[in-house]
């Protein structure tokens, strides 16, 4: 079952995971599972984060100072770690977004030259 599903998944572009996490956190405080769910749902199940790799990424981003975390209780009253965007994180998201749009635009222009006016 896993194998079939995996083939339908779309691999993330390298470097985009950080951006997706940051973007998710603009909606508020979230725990890791929540972030994974959010990315999956918002992309209509197309983008499936390799779930484990989320955690080293979260650690790295904390080191960068883009996000902060604290322990709290989840909806069903389980102890969970919640992540929050910092000011530096917002700035980074801005940078990442503009870069991403440039790249995306470029890819689109390469892939669909006929659609240019």
């Amino acid at each position: 079952m896993g194998r079939v599903k995996r083939s339908a998944r779309t691999e993330l572009l390298p470097g985009t995971l950080d951006m997706l996490i940051l973007k998710s956190l603009t909606r508020g405080v979230m725990h890791g599972y929540g972030i994974a769910q959010h990315i999956q749902q918002m992309s209509d199940e197309v983008l499936q984060v390799e779930e484990g790799s989320l955690y080293p990424a979260l650690q790295r981003m904390q080191l960068q100072g883009w996000i902060e975390s604290e322990w709290g209780h989840s909806a069903n009253n389980r102890r969970a770690r919640f992540y929050r965007l910092t000011r530096a994180g917002r700035k980074q998201l801005g940078l990442a977004e503009s870069g991403f749009e440039r790249v995306l635009g470029a890819i689109v222009r390469v892939m669909r030259p006929q659609s240019e006016p």
Binding site: E50, E51, W71
Partner: protein
């Protein structure tokens, strides 16, 4: 918060962070599973699926941990900790590896530290590279008549030396366009009698020109140094002490400056102390303790002759080049000046001498060059041992890598990359090498001391464990660790995960390839071990041969020591009277049977050779010493008449010398049997006469006796023709060895003998109180030290080879268990299986022996100079070494062979 502090913070909270991460991940998996159950999966299925989606938890946690810590350092510490645990588990293996590396590294470090201290080290003065050492080179084998200094053969077929005439120094010194300073100095090997507060002791000394310290740029540690004003014939005598001598003899007291000491009877004022670490510019290991002005030389050594004579070659020179001047310019500018000096020489003196300016950065270098040659040989041997040790360690680690294949596979399975595993294994090897290096440094300290003693070099200043030496050792051990670790590491980690996990079979590791490589290493190792054993065997047999040399006299219960009353102002009749009073006093001591003196020590390395004219004898006799002389010659020993009784040298014919053969009576001598054979063949030499010396100085002597042959200076020489004359009939003897025959162990009498000498003359220093047995052992010290070193290295080499061959066979037996089981199931007897293994061992050993034989034949020539009583290709020694290695290989094969014979065919086949 800066990133670095976040790092530190996280590092500190590491364990908690790790727990938190685990909790967080566990929660994630749980939530995902719960969701899947909601979608209709069974709880077990859901959990498995959630785990699968999550990925490799261990690897991910590892990845995060790396992030918190300081990356490389962190993993390294982890690797090191793991390596320590592994070492703890395999103590025997670790011990063998560390000890063998310690010996290999220690031997190399010791040789390097001696080389560094004696050969490489530059003078501790400012800009040592600006210094040039003046020397001359001749192209004919003519010796300058008045040479008092160093001499070596030159490549041009003549001689080379750094000793010049004083007139050459005066002429060169004028050329201030070439040198900012040209300094002159002379080491006094005959040592000086220094009396401090009535206490007489020998010290090594040198004399230097007034500009010596200024020219070299050496400032005193205390007081002042010798200046030009101290170096005039009418200046008062002043002395500068070496730092070591100041510490040792004066307890480092600052008040020593201004006091007066007595040097060979000349009162001299101590004006200062040379800085620590400056041991002068003399040759390797010769550090003068007292330095005086050149102008004082005629006073402290009255018998040195007319030093300003045109044909007296003695003074050494170092020049500091003027800015912009090169050595080649010095050569060409001084060539005409030197030619002028050579022209002034009397007829018959060498005239092909040519000036050559050498680098003076290391001071005098004659002995240094010889030391360097010998160190090169030793470095080769030590290199061999290190090579064997490395080969062996590689083999051992490779066997272990095989044993650890499952462990590696497990680690690879849970996410360790190959690079990480290789790094882990390399960390282990480098740590093994590091432990070896620690042991090696400890060993090197001791070995370096032994080497210096063996080569007769002063310990002072040479061979310290300083930064270059430690750096060398560290570099050596890290290189070893990487070299012997890389191959096993690469091979050990190249494994197929599933294959290795499933069972213990070799997987993709390639048992055959590994065995071939291991066998190759093994054969190399055996060959090196044969080579080392041959070297050790040759040296051991040399020592044994030296020990069997008949000395002719009885060295047991003989106490000997040296005195030189001429440095205390005795000469002529007073000197002879002192000797006879001293001998009488010694003979009266309880426990003393007799006492005598001789001008040379017995088997103490010094000789006295005189030309003789024997009526009716034509031709020359080869004395086996120095260049062949044109005149017949003989060794000569000047002795007290009681010499023969004291040393118990048997008389063959006639009578011994008698006290009645005194000054004014006809000169008489006792010759040895070799002289009787050589110069008076087939007749009774008693009553025969011959002339001692040449020309008008020749004195006619009558032979009154023939004594047994005894070696003069060395056990190595076939006893040459020689004779004994009485000191009562001779000129002044400056410096004699006193022999005391005792009834009890000789050293027990040493205090009484010292006291007796003090009673006769308190200002007379005693040098080298020893027994004759010690003296003889001392004369072969170099051989014994080399033999000991070579034996130690040889034993290590053979042991390592044994361990190596055992490891390889044990590995192969383990590999071939199934094959052996099959053979036995098909009818092979246990004996046949055991023989199979032993044959394999012997095949390797035989291949190694053949290689080792060839290597020995090609290389033991370098030992030829030190061997005695056998050739460098001595067949018995080589056969013995090969036999030893074959026996060792057989013994090492026994255990694996037994294990092979005990293989149970049923068990072995069932595992298939």
């Amino acid at each position: 918060m800066p990133r670095f502090f976040r790092h530190v913070l996280m590092r500190l909270r590491r364990d908690r962070l790790d727990d938190e991460l685990r909790d967080e991940m566990a929660l994630h998996v749980e939530l995902r599973a719960a969701e899947l159950v909601e979608r209709g999966m069974s709880p077990d299925e859901a959990r498995a699926a959630a785990l699968r989606r999550f990925g490799n938890t261990t690897l991910l946690r590892e990845e995060s941990r790396t992030m918190w810590g300081f990356g490389a350092v962190e993993t390294w510490v982890q690797d090191a900790r793991y390596a320590l645990r592994t070492m703890g588990r395999t103590r025997a293996l670790t011990g063998v590896v560390v000890v063998s590396l310690a010996i290999g590294i220690g031997a190399n470090a010791a040789i390097f530290s001696v080389a560094n201290g004696v050969v490489f080290r530059k003078l501790p003065v400012p800009s040592p590279d600006e210094l040039v050492l003046l020397s001359w080179v001749s192209s004919t084998k003519t010796l300058p008549g008045g040479l008092w200094g160093s001499l070596r053969s030159s490549d041009a077929g003549g001689y080379q030396s750094t000793s010049f005439t004083y007139s050459a120094y005066e002429a060169f010194r004028q050329r201030t366009d070439l040198f900012t300073d040209l300094v002159a100095f002379k080491g006094l090997f005959g040592r000086a009698n220094v009396i401090v507060d009535g206490d007489a002791e020998l010290a090594s000394a040198q004399v230097v020109s007034g500009n010596y310290y200024r020219g070299l740029g050496v400032a005193p540690a205390l007081g002042r140094v010798i200046s030009n004003d101290d170096d005039r014939p009418d200046s008062d005598a002043v002395a500068v002490l070496s730092y070591g001598y100041w510490q040792r003899r004066f307890g480092g007291r600052a008040g020593v400056v201004g006091t007066t000491i007595d040097v060979n009877g000349v009162p001299a004022t101590v004006i200062g102390v040379a800085p620590r670490g400056f041991t002068g510019t003399l040759d390797a290991g010769r550090a003068p303790e007292i330095t005086m002005a050149l102008a004082q030389l005629p006073r402290i050594l009255p018998d040195a002759g007319r030093l300003t004579a045109h044909n007296r070659w003695w003074v050494d020179m170092l020049g500091r080049l003027a800015p912009g001047v090169t050595r080649a310019q010095v050569d060409s500018a001084l060539a005409p000046v030197f030619a002028g000096v050579v022209r002034e020489l009397p007829k018959g003196e060498p005239d092909t001498m040519r000036l050559l300016a050498r680098s003076g950065a290391r001071g005098l270098t004659t002995a240094r060059t010889e030391v360097a040659d010998r160190l090169a040989i030793m470095a080769m041997v030590a290199g061999l041992v290190l090579l064997i040790a490395c080969t062996n360690v590689a083999n051992l680690l490779m066997s272990r890598a095989t044993a650890r294949r499952r462990e590696m596979a497990v680690r690879a399975a849970i996410g360790a990359g190959r690079g990480r595993l290789v790094r882990q294994l390399l960390t282990e090897s480098v740590m093994l090498a590091g432990l070896g290096a620690v042991g090696g440094v400890a060993l090197a300290r001791w070995l370096a001391g032994a080497l210096l003693a063996a080569m007769d070099l002063d310990q002072a200043g040479a061979a310290r464990l300083d930064w270059p030496v430690l750096g060398f050792t560290v570099a050596l051990s890290v290189t070893c660790g990487l070299v012997f670790g890389l191959l096993p590491a690469l091979r050990g980690t190249r494994s197929n995960v599933t294959g290795s996990l499933k069972d213990g079979t070799p997987g993709s590791m390639g048992g055959r390839a590994r065995s071939r490589l291991a066998a190759g290493l093994m054969v190399t190792q055996m060959a090196l071990a044969v080579l080392l054993s041959v070297g050790a065997g040759l040296l051991l047999r040399t020592v044994a041969n030296l020990g069997r040399v008949q000395v002719g006299f009885d060295p047991a219960n003989l106490l000997v020591f040296d005195i030189d009353p001429t440095h205390t102002g005795y000469e002529g009749d007073r000197l002879r009277d002192l000797y006879s009073r001293l001998l009488d006093h010694l003979r009266a001591l309880p426990g003393v049977l007799s006492a005598s003196l001789s001008d040379l020590g017995l088997i103490a390395g010094s000789v006295s050779i005189t030309e003789v004219t024997v009526p009716g004898f034509e031709g020359t006799i080869d004395l086996g010493f120095g260049p062949p002389s044109r005149q017949p010659a003989a060794f000569v020993q000047t002795v007290d008449p009681s010499f023969f009784e004291t040393v118990r040298l048997p008389l063959r014919l006639g009578r011994v010398l008698s006290p009645a053969d005194a000054a004014g009576t006809p000169l008489v001598v006792v010759i040895n049997e070799a002289m009787a054979r050589a110069y008076f063949p087939g007749r009774n030499p008693i009553g025969e006469r011959f002339k001692v010396g040449t020309g008008s100085d020749a004195a006619e002597v009558t032979i009154v006796g023939v004594a047994a042959d005894m070696p003069f200076d060395s056990l190595r020489r076939v006893v040459p023709p020689g004779f004994f004359q009485s000191y009562l009939q001779q000129q002044d003897l400056s410096g004699v060895t006193i022999e005391v025959r005792t009834a009890t162990p000789p050293l027990d009498l040493a205090p009484a003998v010292r006291a007796a000498v003090r009673e006769i003359e308190p200002r007379l220093p005693i040098d080298g109180m020893r027994t004759e047995t010690q003296q003889i052992a001392e004369s072969c010290r170099e051989e014994r030290v080399y033999a000991t070193l070579a034996t130690a290295l040889g034993v290590v080499g053979v042991l390592l080879a044994a361990i190596g061959i055992y490891g390889l066979l044990a590995y192969q037996v383990a590999q071939r268990t199934q094959e052996l089981g099959l053979r036995m199931a098909l009818g092979a007897t246990r004996g046949a299986v055991a023989r199979l293994v032993l044959a394999q061992s012997l095949r390797l050993a035989a291949a190694g022996a053949v290689l080792g034989l060839l290597a020995s034949l090609a290389s033991t020539r370098v030992l030829a100079g030190i061997l005695f009583g056998l050739m460098a290709t001595d067949p018995a020694t080589i056969a013995g070494a090969i036999g030893l290695l074959l026996a060792v290989a057989l013994a090492a094969g026994c255990l694996p062979a037994r294990r092979a014979a005990r293989v149970d065919p049923l068990v072995a086949l069932r595992t298939e």
